[in-house]
Subunit: 216 residues, 2 copies
């Protein structure tokens, strides 16, 4: 986890990287200045350059670290059975809370900037979902790739909108209370078929016709 060992115990290089990750996530790649990063890390301006060369290289280091941390948490979640039934295992999320919030904020920034790291992270998440869909619902869908991509994007929605969702619910989404409340709602959402088989067939037929025809 990022915030252990204690901040003061980290090497200066690690402190700079962590401070950069936090400031990039909070303010964006452009607005976060090297001077602020150095100040938060408790080092001089020159040391940042000494260790990372340039702001761009510092950003690359943060990307790499965030990607590795994200994949580590995802794997822990998988081995903890978090996604076995399609819903989080009770109690898992609150444990990783601080790191996860930070990574999601950083990830949301990267998405706005269209970084390669964001795209790589998304594609790896899609691969996991695709394998899960193929195993859980084999032969069920005409276009399993598109289903996996869209499910992944939909699952990320509440995370990316973490701030707005928390405000609308009146409770911090990744706190214990928020986690329980949202998980219960997720169960209801996942258990509910939102479209009847008849409606689905009719809608699909309409799109088939649209696909053959001209631009409306």
């Amino acid at each position: 986890m990022i915030d252990e060992p204690a901040f003061e115990d980290l090497t200066a290089r690690a402190r700079i990287r962590d401070a950069a990750l936090r400031l990039f996530a909070e303010r964006g790649m452009q607005a976060a200045t090297i001077r602020d990063i150095a100040a938060r890390a408790g080092v001089s301006l020159g040391l940042v350059r000494h260790h990372f060369g340039s702001k761009e290289e510092l950003r690359d280091a943060c990307d790499e670290y965030a990607l590795a941390q994200g994949m580590r948490i995802k794997n822990e979640a998988l081995s903890a059975g978090m996604m076995g039934s399609g819903i989080p295992k009770p109690g898992f999320l609150p444990e990783v809370h601080p790191t996860l919030v930070l990574l999601m904020q950083y990830f949301a920034r990267s998405i706005s900037d269209g970084s390669a790291a964001a795209e790589a992270m998304f594609e790896q998440f899609v691969a996991v979902t695709e394998a899960w869909v193929a195993q859980q619902f084999p032969g069920e869908f005409d276009d399993p790739k598109a289903v996996a991509v869209l499910i992944t994007a939909m699952q990320m929605g509440p995370m990316l909108l973490h701030q707005q969702v928390s405000a609308a619910l009146g409770v911090e989404l990744l706190s214990r209370a928020g986690h329980i409340r949202s998980s219960k709602a997720f169960i209801d959402i996942y258990a509910q078929p939102w479209l009847s088989k008849d409606s689905a067939e009719a809608a699909k037929a309409a799109y088939d016709q649209l696909e053959k025809g001209e631009t409306p």
Copy 2:
């Protein structure tokens, strides 16, 4: 729509506002400079300040305009029956495509910056979804507010991840082909109950127990 009437026919003030909206969406609030905005609008640097006072006030004007445009499109979608059955009406999205992509990019930027406009837009979307849930599934959920908030966030996921989704699918999401392909997948997703009633009951019971007990 933003790109009609023709760009050249707009007043200088409107041209500046449109150019700012585009550059803010493309590069972010910080990276987009007043000089670039003035250049794209075809006016001098001073005129931007003359009309809007400061960069912050220009940003506020863009927020207000984007919010109004987003609500206008949403209302058109509603009146066009786009959300009547929970799925987009064939042919609607491609029509509003250019404006919608622009607004979504701008909105994604605003979300990263945690602007008041982004929060307002999200809350208004939640209100619409909440009314729809109450009408379509009355008394179905224990926590309809949370269900509405999370559904709204999930529906926004693919839009916010528009760039990554398009890359993963190999087709521009809001093009005609991408719209048809994703809509078909959405139909499958919405028609599929992802959790059996039994599993849902078991999971809910687990969370109820977690709620009563101590921190795990």
